[in-house]
Structure formats: structure tokens, C-alpha cells
């Protein structure tokens, strides 16, 4: 069996789909690959032209929603996602009809459900990002999402906070997105100490928010399970109201 190794980018993956399409190969990320003595590996050179052809092919068979789901499922970065997406792509190309809603098919359902999970995480980031104002007027937020969702939230934050400079930094994947009042760029940075970089009023607004959070609770209706279901513990350390 042949193993196609790609660089981890979406374009790289689409190139790998192109290269491996006619063969019985599997696709793996090169940095996560454990060598296997019985398999031959082929290193995929990311090629925007090939990637584009696959994407155009998909866009002829999928709705805008379906295309978005394909990309979202890829961003899940879960172990088997390359296999699932490859099988899904094959199923798409083999059929004359659009099979996007054929939820009786295991690949279609898997991609739809994975995309849904990624979407839930995207939505959580839209909810749980907390900006802190720095001295130089940038609203800064540190996050650690389960999936690689920053590419999916750019538009939401850009439209919402059109008049303030902001930065959201994914500390798990070590990159961030920065809006400079015009456009959003991808950035990398060293995480230094964060003391002394905040605006003098920042603490006070966090304290006011904590006051509000306490006041809004109804003690007679306590339901911790429901709270946890909506807001799992792993998000808490980034939320000032729960620190």
C-alpha cells in the first residue's frame, strides 16, 4: 500500500487527493507519520494548481454549504479524517447526482457529523473569546480550541469588531489572527510574561463583569450539570468570570 505524505495544509491535502486518486493509497500528515516498514511512502509536493482542480471538481458536485463542511471537517485534524474525506471525495466523483445529503452512506454522515463538531467549536470560540485591552489599544485574547477553528471565525470577529484592533491567539497550534482595522493577518509570536502590558482600566472592567456574573445567578435554581454541559471546564481558565 502506498502512503501519501502531505505538509498538513488544506492545499497539500487536496494535492494528495489528486495524486492518490486513481491508486489504492492512504493520505497522512508528514509530521504525524510513524514509519511503516511494509508500506511505500510518497512525499506530496503541495501544488496549488492540482489543489484547485480538486476543489473546482468538488464545487461542481457540492453546494456552498457542502463545500464548507468539507473544509470544516478537514480542520478537525482528527486521526482518520484524511481517509474519511478521501472516501467521501471518491463517492462524490463516482456519482452523477449530488450525494451531499445521502446520510444513509457512512462517509457522508461521518463528514457531516465531524463538520458539525467543528462548527460547535467555532461557535464556542465566538462565545468564549475574552478580550483584554492592552496599553497600546489592542484587544487581545488567548484561546485553546479543540479543533483548528481560527480560519472559521475571522469573518465573525472582523464584522463585529470593525472599529477596534484585535488579536486572537491559538496557544495549542501556536499561531494567531490579527485585525489592524483594515484586514486580518496570520501571526506568530513568542509568549512572554503578560504583566504590565494591560490598560489601567482593564482590571476594573473584568471586576465589573465578575460582579455582574455573580448578580445574574439564581441560587434557588442551581444546576451545575447544565452549566457544565454548555460550558465544559476546559474553557474556564480563559474566562475572567470563572477565575
Amino acid at each position: 500500500m502506498e502512503i501519501y505524505l502531505y505538509d498538513g495544509s488544506f492545499e497539500g491535502f487536496l494535492t494528495a487527493v489528486f495524486d492518490s486518486y486513481k491508486k489504492q493509497g492512504v493520505i497522512r500528515k508528514e509530521n504525524a507519520f510513524v514509519p511503516d516498514m511494509f508500506a511505500t511512502t510518497i512525499s506530496v509536493q503541495t501544488d496549488l494548481e492540482k489543489a484547485d482542480r480538486v476543489w473546482m471538481g468538488l464545487s461542481k458536485k457540492l453546494s456552498a454549504d457542502g463545500l464548507h463542511q468539507f473544509f470544516a471537517a478537514f480542520l478537525s485534524e482528527i486521526d482518520v479524517i484524511e481517509d474519511q474525506l478521501l472516501n467521501y471525495a471518491r463517492y462524490i466523483f463516482e456519482n452523477q447526482l449530488t450525494i451531499e445529503h445521502d446520510f444513509g452512506n457512512a462517509f457522508v454522515l461521518f463528514v457531516a457529523q465531524t463538520a458539525r463538531k467543528v462548527h460547535r467549536e467555532k461557535h464556542r470560540m465566538e462565545a468564549f473569546v475574552r478580550f483584554q485591552l492592552t496599553k497600546d489599544g489592542i484587544y487581545f485574547s488567548l484561546v485553546a480550541p479543540d479543533y483548528n477553528v481560527l480560519p472559521l471565525i475571522i469573518r465573525h470577529f472582523k464584522e463585529r469588531y470593525a472599529d477596534q484592533r484585535w488579536m486572537i491567539y491559538d496557544r495549542v497550534r501556536n499561531y494567531g489572527i490579527y485585525y489592524d482595522l483594515e484586514k486580518v493577518d496570520t501571526i506568530w509570536m513568542e509568549m512572554d510574561k503578560q504583566e504590565g502590558i494591560w490598560d489601567p482600566n482593564e482590571n476594573d472592567y473584568q471586576a465589573l463583569w465578575q460582579t455582574y456574573y455573580k448578580g445574574a445567578n439564581i441560587a434557588g435554581r442551581v444546576n451545575r450539570k447544565l452549566q457544565l454541559q454548555h460550558m465544559p471546564k476546559r474553557y474556564w481558565k480563559y474566562l475572567p468570570e470563572l477565575r
Binding site: I99, H101, D102, F103, G104, N105, L109, H123, E126, A127, F128, V129, R130, F131, Q132, L133, Y139, S141, E159, R160, Y161, A162, D163, Q164, D204, Y205, A207, L208, W209, T211, Y212, Y213, K214, G215, A216, N217, I218, A219, G220, R221, V222, N223, R224, K225, L226, Q227, Q229, H230, M231, L239, E241, L242
Partner: protein, 432 residues
């Protein structure tokens, strides 16, 4: 130097004062259940702050009671000229009183919003001096936010019954949603617990809003530039369990108001005991959370699943079953509808099957055009087979071969389920 110190001291005192006000006025506002921030579509086209496009709500946090925080929900003031028995802010209640200034509310809203704490503002108020005086200040806040600060976030204002039509109209220009609370589900309840208020005073502004919305919608059909007017519509709230009303009273009332006033939502607020007034449940009584939950389920069935109020509650069944959900309860009373064939039945018929939610309904409708569906596929799509299996047939026929009576089905389902609220009612001693 001294001047600077005096200034700093003033700033600190002011900040402490805002903390105290926020604490009092958030606490007093929390019995209003609505926290919806959806249904509006105010695009950020002026490069201002905020965006409610495409009208999806976001819950930014959850309090230990499991309720969502989406909006900064506060009272402008908890001073009030009324003395409604069920309300913490009633005139004769001995509590701390406070009032925000317009600027303080604007400042909190903007700064919370910029930090992504909230979707916007939900402003309610005790009645200070008179309805117009109160409403005027609330409208001022919404106006400042929209015009001075170019704020496109969500604004929900409580409409104060008795405020003038002009103020109500102005409020509608700036707010995404306006709401008037019906407070109690029956007029007798209102007479008993809030004798100064009348149902007619609450209906008047609802009627006004409905007519304005319809009028402007009609204008929009012929004119290009018609100002937005409460794009997220109006809603109301009723308190559950403070009076002696039945579930039938409540759900039929809701159904009537959805139709008459085109309400977007009716909220049901389980009464939280706050007083030892003999007319009300005592301080030790539980908040009727289970009942509230069932009412919301019934509400959903009416709004999305094609049920009407009479099917769910009638003179023979004046209360919702607390042990099982209202859809299952309806199905057990109407066994002649079933079994339903998943692969051929109409969409709205499938929506009536217990254990199948609207998400699954849509998946089933889409998927069955490709191939007939079987049990495994249904389960993977998220259908709750433990409940649904008694009511459907699919590619492989029926799962349950026996003809069960509704009583048997009920027992079997209860036996397998782990309700969040209830354990199976077993007799205290089981001798056999």
C-alpha cells in the same frame, strides 16, 4: 497635588458605586428569563461597533444555575411605585435601591461588548415617578448607543405599560426587540397579586407594537427607505406557579398570544419564592423547574412541530405529564396514528413521532430519497430509538413485534430512561 488626590479618590468612590449599582440592579433583573439575542439582522455597515448579522444568538457564559448569559441584563432602577406581590422590587419590600445614570449604562454596555462578554443590552426598569418618565430614560440609552456610539449590537427594551405611543415608537426605532410582560397567566391571579395592574394595560402596548410592525412591513413593500422597527419582534413572559393556574390555562394563553400579537416568543418563568406573603408559595417551596421545562417543550411543539394547543392540553388533560415529555404523552393518547413508515410518511407526520427531533426529521427526509432507511441508520442520525421504536416501521419492518398498549409502552420507556429530574416511581415496598 492635593487636587489630584481628591480627583483620584473621587474616581475610586465612583467605581465602587458602579459596582454596587451593578450588583443590585443585575440581581433585580435576573427574574426576567429572556436572554435571546437572535432574530435581528443589524449589519455592521457603518464600520461601527457590533453586528447582529446573520441573526444567530450567542450565549457568552453560563451561571451556576445553568442559564445562559447573552445580554447585559439590568434594571435602570429598582425604585418602583407599584407593589406587586411576586416582585422583588415591590414598593414595600425592604431592600437596597439604586439607579443607573444613562451614561453608566452606555459605558458598561460598550465596554462589555468590546471584550466579547455580551451580545448587547437587555434593559428593564422599575417604574420611577411614572411610566413616561421611566420609558424616556430607557429610550435615551438605546438612542445614545445607536447614534453616538454607532452600536450595532442587540438591544432588548422592556416596554413600560402606560408609556405614550410616541415613546413606544421611538423605542422601536432603536431596539431590536421590545417586550411587555403579562406577569400572571390569569386575570384573577393579577387581581390578587398585582391589584394596581390590569391586563388591558399590558395588551394595549402589545397591540400598538403589532400594528406598527404590520404597518411598516406594508410600507416596505412599496417604499425603499423604511426605518427598521423592532426587527426581532416582541415577546412576553408569564410567571408559572405563583397563582393557581393550570398548564392548560398557560399554554392556551400562549397560543392565543402567538396568533393575536404575532409574538416571537412566550417565556415561562418558574416562580422563585422571594416573600412570605400568604397569597404566594412559601419561602421554602421549590422553584417549579420540571413544570417550566415541560411548558417549554409544549411551546416548541406548537411553534415548530405543528401541534395545536388543544391536542396537547384540554379539559380531559389540564396538566402536562411531568414523567414523560408532551410529545410522547400525546402519542400514547393517540395510538391510532401509529405506526408511521419513516420511508414514506409526510415530514410533519414524522415530526410527531416521539424521540425524533427536527434535526433528525430533516436528515431522514433528505436521506430517504437515496435509499430506504433501516434501524442502524436512524440511530446514527440521532433518533432516540428507545422511544421511537414503538411508533415506527422502516425498511426492516417494525422493531417491536408485539402490540403493546399505551400503558405498557409508558412503563417500558420510563423503566429505561434516566430522567434528569425524576427517578422511576417505585412503590416503597416491593414484596414480590
Amino acid at each position: 497635588m492635593l487636587n489630584i488626590l481628591v480627583f483620584l479618590a473621587k474616581v475610586i468612590v465612583m467605581q465602587e458605586r458602579v459596582h454596587e449599582k451593578l450588583s443590585i440592579l443585575a440581581d433585580a433583573a435576573k427574574y426576567d428569563v429572556s436572554c435571546a439575542s437572535s432574530g435581528s439582522d443589524r449589519k455592521n455597515t457603518n464600520k461601527g461597533l457590533g453586528n447582529t448579522h446573520p441573526g444567530m444568538g450567542i450565549c457568552h457564559s453560563y451561571t451556576p444555575d445553568g442559564r445562559c448569559i447573552s445580554l447585559l441584563k439590568i434594571l435602570l432602577t429598582n425604585y418602583c411605585i407599584y407593589d406587586c406581590a411576586y416582585c422583588v422590587s415591590r414598593k414595600r419590600n425592604d431592600i437596597k435601591r439604586a439607579a443607573f445614570t444613562v451614561q453608566e449604562v452606555v459605558d458598561l454596555t460598550i465596554n462589555f461588548y468590546r471584550r466579547n462578554y455580551i451580545e448587547g443590552l437587555f434593559l428593564s426598569s422599575g417604574i420611577f415617578k411614572n411610566p413616561d418618565y421611566t420609558m424616556e430614560r430607557m429610550v435615551r440609552i438605546a438612542k445614545d448607543l445607536r447614534t453616538i456610539h454607532k452600536f450595532n449590537g442587540y438591544i432588548h427594551l422592556k416596554a413600560i405599560p402606560g408609556a405614550s405611543d410616541e415613546l413606544m415608537k421611538e423605542a422601536g426605532m432603536y431596539a431590536d426587540r421590545l417586550s411587555v410582560n403579562l406577569e400572571l397567566p390569569t386575570e384573577e391571579g393579577l387581581k390578587l397579586l398585582a391589584p394596581e395592574k390590569k391586563r388591558a394595560d399590558m395588551i394595549q402596548p402589545m397591540n400598538f407594537l403589532k400594528n406598527e410592525i404590520i404597518r411598516l412591513d406594508d410600507e416596505r413593500k412599496v417604499l425603499k427607505k423604511v426605518p427598521t422597527f423592532v426587527p426581532a419582534g416582541q415577546s412576553t413572559q408569564v410567571i408559572v406557579g405563583a397563582g393557581k393556574e393550570t398548564d392548560k390555562d398557560i399554554v392556551h394563553l400562549a397560543s392565543r398570544f402567538y396568533q393575536q400579537f404575532k409574538l416571537k416568543r412566550v417565556y415561562y418563568s418558574g416562580y422563585v419564592p422571594i416573600s412570605n406573603d400568604a397569597r404566594l408559595p412559601g419561602l421554602q417551596s421549590q422553584v417549579p423547574m420540571m413544570r417550566e421545562n415541560r411548558l417549554y417543550q409544549a411551546d416548541w411543539l406548537m411553534r415548530f412541530y405543528g401541534f395545536n394547543a388543544h391536542e396537547l392540553l384540554n379539559d380531559a388533560n389540564p396538566h402536562l405529564d411531568t414523567e414523560i415529555d408532551p410529545k410522547l404523552s400525546w402519542a400514547l393518547r393517540n395510538m391510532h396514528f401509529f405506526p408511521i413508515d419513516i420511508n414514506t410518511a409526510d415530514k410533519m407526520l414524522i415530526a410527531r413521532i416521539p424521540g425524533i427531533g427536527m434535526n433528525s426529521v430533516n436528515k431522514i427526509i433528505a436521506a430517504r430519497t437515496f435509499s430506504a432507511l433501516g434501524w442502524d441508520q436512524l440511530q446514527q442520525m440521532g433518533v432516540q430509538l428507545n422511544r421511537a421504536k414503538y411508533f415506527i416501521t422502516c425498511k426492516k419492518g417494525a422493531m417491536e413485534k408485539k402490540d403493546y398498549t399505551s400503558g405498557q409502552i409508558r412503563r417500558q420507556i420510563l423503566h429505561q430512561s434516566h430522567s434528569k429530574y425524576l427517578k422511576l416511581h417505585t412503590p416503597q415496598l416491593s414484596l414480590f
